[in-house]
């Protein structure tokens, strides 16, 4: 396939990935990697590299907007970034020793799990019990809610930290943002309100991605001609998505579309991995 055609196909696919990724809050990597590997027969290391770059772009772009609204808990993000970057660097370092088909199968499994996780009901929960460690680390915060400022506190910091190590590891290994896992760690373990956990997770994804990307960059896994249409496409899609998101409250049916698309693509990844085609 000539470069021009190849680039245009990736560009269109990435726009679509960025749109769905931003509407569901999962990021574009979920669709990009299967698209590149299964349909365009790109080496999975190149696909992971391109996905990482696009994750950094979307995370930084949307974090710029969220940070100004004052929802993101920057101290919490910075604290947990110690865990995610440590995990990410480890993941990126060991990725080279993984056979490509094993990466594909693992990615497929993680994608399906994460997609299903997004279907969970999100109850508004605000913890108020005192946690001395959270106070010492100044992790408790507040955000502008619909009826004035909402104060919240953070629980089970150790458990959250360990979960973030794992999320970072997967991010470095598979080139995904692990947004679903990060949100899960903050929602279910640390009892942080959903609004805060999603924006803070997004805030962290850029740094986690950068920690892995510096390793991939030097390995030559970030191929400019593939990353170029991916990053531009995902960014365009994500910008359109965030405009839609401001106007609509929740996108219930869109989540289902996303979950079905992801499960379809992930099954392809697992199948191709199993028969050794990737």
């Amino acid at each position: 396939m000539p470069v021009l055609e190849f680039t245009l196909i990736i560009l269109v696919g990435s726009c679509f990935a960025g749109l769905l990724g931003s509407l569901t809050g999962l990021g574009g990597g979920f669709i990009i990697i299967p698209l590149l590997t299964v349909f365009l027969h790109v080496d999975i290391h190149y696909a992971i590299g391109a996905s990482l770059v696009s994750i950094i772009a979307t995370s930084s772009g949307s974090a710029a907007a969220y940070v100004k609204e004052g929802i993101t808990n920057m101290r919490l993000g910075m604290f947990l970034e110690v865990a995610t970057t440590l995990g990410a660097v480890t993941g990126a370092m060991v990725a080279v020793y993984f056979p490509t088909n094993l990466l594909a199968i693992l990615l497929g499994v993680i994608l399906i799990t994460s997609a299903l996780l997004t279907l969970r009901k999100k109850a508004v929960q605000i913890a108020h019990q005192k946690n001395t460690l959270a106070e010492k680390l100044k992790l408790n915060g507040s955000y502008p809610g619909e009826n004035g400022t909402v104060e919240y506190s953070v629980s089970r910091i150790g458990g959250g930290f360990i979960m973030m190590l794992f999320a970072g590891l997967l991010s470095g290994l598979l080139g995904i943002g692990s947004g679903a896992l990060k949100v899960l760690a903050m929602d279910n373990i640390m009892r942080i309100p959903f609004k805060v956990s999603t924006t803070t997770s997004n805030f962290m994804i850029g740094v986690t991605g950068a920690a892995s990307a510096v390793v991939y960059l030097q390995r030559g896994y970030i191929e400019p001609s593939i990353s170029m249409p991916v990053v531009i496409g995902v960014l365009i899609g994500a910008m359109v998505g965030s405009k839609i998101l401001v106007k609509t409250k929740s996108s219930g049916w869109l989540r289902w579309v996303f979950v079905i698309v992801v499960i379809g693509l992930a099954s392809q990844l697992i199948y191709n991995g199993l028969i050794g085609k990737i």
Partner: protein, 128 residues
């Protein structure tokens, strides 16, 4: 309080918002310019990415600089990608400075630790 906090969390949020926004705009513009050049010069080429092609020469700094001087599309895209990767790292640098200005030394230390992890990984990435 005599020493009123001259630098607050909200200031930090504004600064970081701008760092991220400008970083993304600049780096993606560079990627775009490189992409246009690359397609203009190699649009008809048939690439093969089904197997890892080895480490290209623009991964090294002198190769990258050479490529940019010779207006090679892939080198320019690579430069844009490096700027993009630098954006969140720059964000941590700005956070660190903000924490210093707020006299929050605990978080100055935590930010520096995150920076250190990334720097160590960018130095040791050559192995393997």
């Amino acid at each position: 309080m005599a020493a009123k906090a001259r630098f607050k969390d909200t200031d930090m949020q504004a600064v970081i918002g701008w760092v991220l926004r400008i970083g993304v705009i600049v780096s993606v513009s560079v990627v775009f310019v490189g992409g246009v050049i690359y397609i203009y010069r190699h649009g008809g080429l048939i690439p093969d990415y089904s197997k890892f092609n080895g480490v290209p020469n623009f991964v090294q700094l002198h190769g990258l600089v050479n490529g940019i001087i010779n207006l090679r599309g892939r080198s320019i895209i690579q430069a844009g990608i490096i700027l993009l990767i630098a954006t969140p790292i720059l964000r941590i640098v700005f956070s660190t400075v903000s924490f210093v200005l707020e006299k929050d030394y605990l978080y100055t230390g935590i930010s520096l630790l995150v920076l250190l992890i990334i720097i160590v990984s960018s130095i040791s990435g050559h192995v393997g």
